[in-house]
Amino acid sequence: MKFIKYLAVGILFGIVMTKSEAVSWFRIQEMFRFESFHMYGIIGTAVVLGAIGVAIFKKFNIKSVDGGDLRLRDKTFSVPRYLFGGIIFGLGWAMTGACPGPLFTLLGQGVWSILLVIVSAVAGTYLYGAVRAKLPH
């Protein structure tokens, strides 16, 4: 039962990804070609509102539903892992037109070929785990 709330917000997320068109391969090409404000508007609005909400959560020390601290820890600073990892992911994002959230949303839309991308993404994650010690972080 404790997972039902996550299922509900997941369903909301899938609907939002679809109706926002953030799952669209076409929208992602348009974004990286700077030919529309649409995706920038979505991300920008989410970040500005998100930041205001997070600031309020912190200021009033809001707790989670089960009374614990919210997961708002600071990330350890470094450059290589974020920059190089980010570049690799960016290549894949523009290529497939999907980041991880849309991968699962597209599956629900009945785009069966996206399963190939999902399986490959799991393989890519495994590959990272295998070579992790040799990479700069």
Binding site: A22, M31, G41, V65, G85, G86, L91, A94, P100, G101
Partner: protein, 193 residues
């Protein structure tokens, strides 16, 4: 009501709803980060026996798997119950460019919803060499890159930037460097091979 929701959403509404999803996940005791579920899947598959990185208690991540399961259902509802009356409308200039590399943008629902191009994603087309590269290499890059960077669009661009994390800003700069190289350099070359 359903008809009203079914219209394509304004970007401001969409952005606000994404912020709402992030707040709800935080409030529930979770966090908004989809790519970590890929790691969880590796662990469930037994990767922890070979690599320490995957050796963690995946049961603590079940909530996130349930969340992406919900996203699958939401994707289904988004194109059925709340299906748009028209395909995704993108900029003329993007359509012209895509046309020049052999990708048609759907103009009517009969031609497609405008979420993925049939030339790459239709089941009849996925086994061409170029399309396999796009789908398989693209997927590997997503999995490898997100784990190296420790997050994807949800974990860094939305959650991380909302929490004013400098590392997330560096990651987002990386996302764009990679995205621009792919969109302007590699993809047009691949699609016209």
């Amino acid at each position: 009501m359903i008809e009203w929701i079914s219209q394509p959403w304004h970007w401001a509404v969409s952005g606000a709803m994404i912020a709402l999803v992030m707040w709800l996940l935080l409030w529930f005791g979770g966090e908004f980060g989809v790519s970590s579920t890929l790691k969880t899947m590796c662990t469930i598959g037994g990767a922890g026996k070979r690599y320490e990185f995957f050796n963690f208690d995946w049961k603590a991540q079940i909530w996130n798997l349930v969340f992406i399961g919900g996203a699958v259902i939401g994707g289904f509802l988004g194109v059925t119950v709340f299906g748009s009356p028209e395909p995704v409308q993108i900029a003329e200039s993007t359509q012209e460019y895509l046309n020049s590399v052999g990708i048609d943008t759907p103009q009517t629902l009969a031609e497609g919803r405008g979420y993925v191009p049939q030339e790459i994603f239709a089941l009849d087309n996925i086994f061409s060499v170029v399309n396999l590269i796009v789908l398989v290499v693209g997927g590997v890059l997503i999995g490898f890159g997100t784990r190296w960077a420790g997050g994807c669009t949800s974990g860094h661009a939305i959650s991380g930037l909302s929490n004013l994390q400098l590392p997330s800003l560096i990651a987002v700069v990386g996302f764009f460097i990679g995205g621009l190289v792919m969109a302007w350099g590699i993809l047009p070359f691949l699609l016209t091979m």
